[in-house]
Every structure is written in C-alpha cells, then in structure tokens.
Amino acid sequence: MVMVLPKRDHRCISDQLESRPPRWEAQRPRRGPHGDHPGGYGRVRRHSGRGPFWRSREDRIIAGIAGGLAARLGRDVTVIRIVLVLSALVSGLGVACYVLAWFVLPAEGSSETIAARAISDRQGITLVLALVPVLVLVLLVASVLHAGFLTSWGVPLLISAAGLILVYRNAEDDERAWLIDSTKALLQLDAEPQASRRSFVVRLVAGLLLFALGVSVIADGALNRSWLRPLGGTFLMIAATVVVLGPWWLRLARDLVRERQARIRAEERADMAARVHDSVLQTLAMIQRSADQPLEVAKLARTQERELRSWLFEGRTPGSFGAEGASTLSAGVEQIECEVEAAHGIAVHAVTVGDSPLDDELRALLAAGREATVNAAKWSGATTVSIYLEVEPKGVSMFVRDRGSGFDSDAVAGDRKGIAESMRARMQRHGGTVVIRSVPGEGTEVELSVPRRPGRA
C-alpha cells in the first residue's frame, strides 16, 4: 500500500532541489492512526466505513474474517473477535457461520471465493457427502440420549467440518499451508520425540473420558439438582477441550506472535530500503550527473549528510521543522545552517550552547544572524562560515564568522553597508547590538546580542 501524503515543507531540500522527488514522504504515517496502540500492529490497515467486504490478509488469526469484518464495520477487531468467540461457545452455529464466511468471502485483493472453486471440486463434494451418514448417526444418538445439545452442537460442527474440507481442498496455497501446519500441530504429527506423541494420545484419552463424563452428567436424569447438571456437564466438557487442545492453542498463539514479528521486521526493512533509496541513492545519482560541477556535488553531499545524520543519530525525519516550525533557538540556528548551505553551496558549522524558546527578540536575533550568514556566504569568498550562539542568563549572543576576504569597515561598498545597516536597525529595535569586526584578507566576524529581560527563563 502506498500512502500519498500532502507535500510538506522540507527542511533543506525544498527550495533548491525541487526537481527531486519528495524524499521522506512515504514514511512514518504508514503505521496509521492506531499504530501506537499496544498490540495493535495488525490494525494498521483498518479503514473505518465501508469498503469491499473481504477476508483480511494482514489481520488474521484463522481466516481473517474478524479483520475483514472490523474493516468493513469500522470497529475494533478485538471486539469483533470476542463476539465471534462467544457466539461460537454459545452454540456451534457461530463456528458454522465462520466456516461459511470463510467459504464464501474472497480474500483481500482476490476476486474469487473458495466456494466458486469448490463447485468444480467433485472429489471434495463426494467427501462432504460422506459426512451425511455421520450426521444421521449423531442425530440418532442424540434422540436416544434425549440430548438436545448434541443436535445443537453436532449439526453445525458437522457442517463446519464439511466446509473445512472444501476450504482445505480449494484454498489458495498460503492458506492451505497454514491449515496443514496447524493441523499437524494439533495432532502433533510433526513433533519429533515419540514422548510427545504419546502424551498427545494420553491427553486425547483423558479428554474423551472427561467429555463422556460431561455428556453423561448432562444426560443423567438421576441427578436431581437441576442446575448442577448443565453446569457440571459443561464444565467437564470445557475441561476436556482444554486438555486436548490447550497445547495446540499455546503453540498457535506463539506462532502468531512469531509471524507478526517477522512481518514487522520485514516491513521495517522495506521502510529502511525505501528511505535509503529515496534519499541516498537519489543523491548519488544526482552526484554522478553533476560530476563536473564540484560545488554542486559538495552541496548535494552536504545536504544528504545532514539529512541522513539527523535521521540516524537524532531520530528525526528531516522536514519535521519547517520555516514556522522552529520553536527554539537551536532549531532556528540549524535551519539557518541548512538553508544557507543549500542555497549558497557553502559549509556552515553551527555550535549552540544552551537553548531557549523563541520570542520576538530572539527571532530578530536569528533573522539578523541569518542575514549575516547569507552575507558571508555571498561576499566573503570563504568556503565555510561558523555560527556560534550562546545563551547566558544576561543575554543571548550570536557570532557569525568567516575567513574570507574581509573588508575595511570605513570604506564599504554601498551594498554591503546597506546590509549591515539593516541588520543594525533590526537589532536596535529589539534592544540588541551589532558589532562587526573585519580585517581585509583575514575575514569577518559579526557579533549580535540581545539582552534577556529579567523574569524570562
């Protein structure tokens, strides 16, 4: 599934390299709105509202019916599962309905139902017809024992068995593999040590005994306490089921967890590959294409480096703070670093000590600092510009330094003077100061500072 997200403002890339495809976009939100829900991994693709009703491939324990239903109804899949299990416990009808749904609903993304294939499966149908005598037998036994529950359970269970046979014979390969695996596990056919086969036989015998006991308790008219009969009988039957099937359930649950983990890993790998492709490989391709322009290559490499680094080491996806996004001084400085590097093909090294949320004064400071940086990038001829910003209790100061051509501050060309003046005016409005030191041939340093008002953090 590919999610198309609205285009965000990218931190460094947007202004300069627009020809590139959006890079970091198909990322995080994949997890969907409920991705952070504990155990909610499988709910990723839940759509609320209507869609085609099919069996979910992602969200499945047995056939994916609960998942499909949840997607269709826009409900939580766990609720649906509980309802299904309860309905299966109350009467066998729930089980039969489940198998029926398995039979007639197509799997996600597929158009053909199992039923459609089963029609032409003669051998399967013969097998199913062979179950009819068993059904008759059950009904006979039920009427002899006067046990209504046998009818109410036996019929749906037999129908389910018939359905399962057809499902098994006509399911797609992956579903069939699953069925084979779980059946093997149920009968412990694949269990290696002989002992566990034997333990299964023991459990089966014990289970059958318990079951028979349960049946006889329910059917026994001699017990005069009316509530004891169904209750005790049901309890014994449940115990029988647990004895026989318990280990299988455990194993099933374990496999399920394992499978989910494997899927998560696979998806993470795919995610990683997508990012590396979107960013690194694209940049490498661009670098090859502009191999004859060293400046461009350096710019690309730096932008890529910054992006990769902020992803790997800071766990941040670039683009997470846009022009309006910077809410702290350090983020603002980083933004300047980035924008100027991208726009002017020059390395900007920024160091910040301390941090503070932005207010009007600090925004003015950053704006002036940006101007100074751009200035240095444009005029100094240096290859790097250093920014240093320090937050102190008394005030915040920012130094922008280059080792470029420098200038004689008394005899400045009009253009540069204008910029210096605009910086100075901007700072003065906010009670700040600007000091420019420049020596021709050695470089320029611009010092900007604003006092902090008492009472501010």
Partner: protein
Amino acid sequence: MNPTGPPRVFLVDDHHLFRAGVKSELGDSVQVVGEADEVPAAIELIAERLPDVVLLDVHMPGGGGKAVIDAVKASHPTVRFLALSVSDAPEDVIAVIRAGARGYVTKTISGPELVDAVLRVAGGDAVFSPRLAGFVLDAFASMPPGSEPPGPLDPELDHLTPREREVLRLIARGYTYKEIARELTISVKTVESHVSAVLRKLQLSTRHQLTRWATERRLI
C-alpha cells in the same frame, strides 16, 4: 613521539574506503604503521606496533572505538587516541573522550586540518572541535540548583575557570589556537595548556551531564 620523524599513526575504521581516503589525505606528514577494520584486530596490532597516535572510528561493531581505548589504555598508556566519527552527538563525543581519547574530530574534516589535529595529539595536546567546545560549555554551564546530583562539586574538576571558558568560547566560534592566542594576548602554549586542562576536567569530572552523556551513548 618519535623524535626523529613524523608521528607513527595507526588507523582503525571498519570502512575500507574511508581508511584509504584518510591515508591519502595524511600523505607524507605522518607515517601510517598499520590499520585494522575491527576491534579485536585493532587491539592486538596496536599493542604490537605501539604507534604514537591511533585514529579511531567511534562507531564500529563490537563495542566501537571505546572498546579499543579501554583495552589498550591500561597496558600502553603512551598510545594516544584521536577519535573520528561521522556523528558529533554529545553522547558519542563525551563517551570516547572520557574513555581516554585526546581529541575528537568529525569525518568531514579537511585533510590539512586532520594532519594538524594528528600532530597536535602526537605532541600531547588536546584537539577540540568547535562542536566539542560547545558541548563542554554546555555541560559546565552553571546549573539551576537541584539539577546537579547531591554532594558538593569538586571545585578543582567540576568548574571551568573564566579563562578556560573564554578559550572554549573562541574555539566554538571557529578560532584557531593561534587566533585565540592573539585575541586573548597570550601565547599559543598557554592556549594549549588551557585546553589540556579542560580535557582533564572533561575526563574526570563527575558532572551529571557528562556522566549522562557518557552512558547514554548509542552505537549504531
């Protein structure tokens, strides 16, 4: 240090390409006496060849550069380490410095700067990148009461002198040692001794931020 020739340098990095690049950048200014691409081999070869300076990648499988420093430092205290890394996250920087590295530079450093840093470390001085100076200033900033662990801070180790602070600030602003000396009208030797003093504090101080950075280290 080998008094008669260029310093003997050993390279540890798990990227072959990077080692080749560094070697060509260092050129004739140093003598590369060996290289290793993994932690155990590095430990063994360094002990055998006893270089003056080990250029050490921070991020390597098997414990990273820190593991190498830990293993070699105890038996061969004369070997000096200069850490190299693509990351300049404080956790990484502080952890290797506290393990015993005498400096830290990022891999984007230019060839001449790298040679300069190697020579400086070989001469027993410390190498502080602007970013590292920034971290140190951050870590030794006066904290609001309560954020430091209980117990008095050692005035000898846990505070920077005003002069050291000035030096660090200038490093963070991108000044070279020579420029710092001129700015503060002191000698380059004095600048170097200030930086070495700061390095010592950085390695021994129990300041909360430093210990936190040193333990919060993520190796990728």
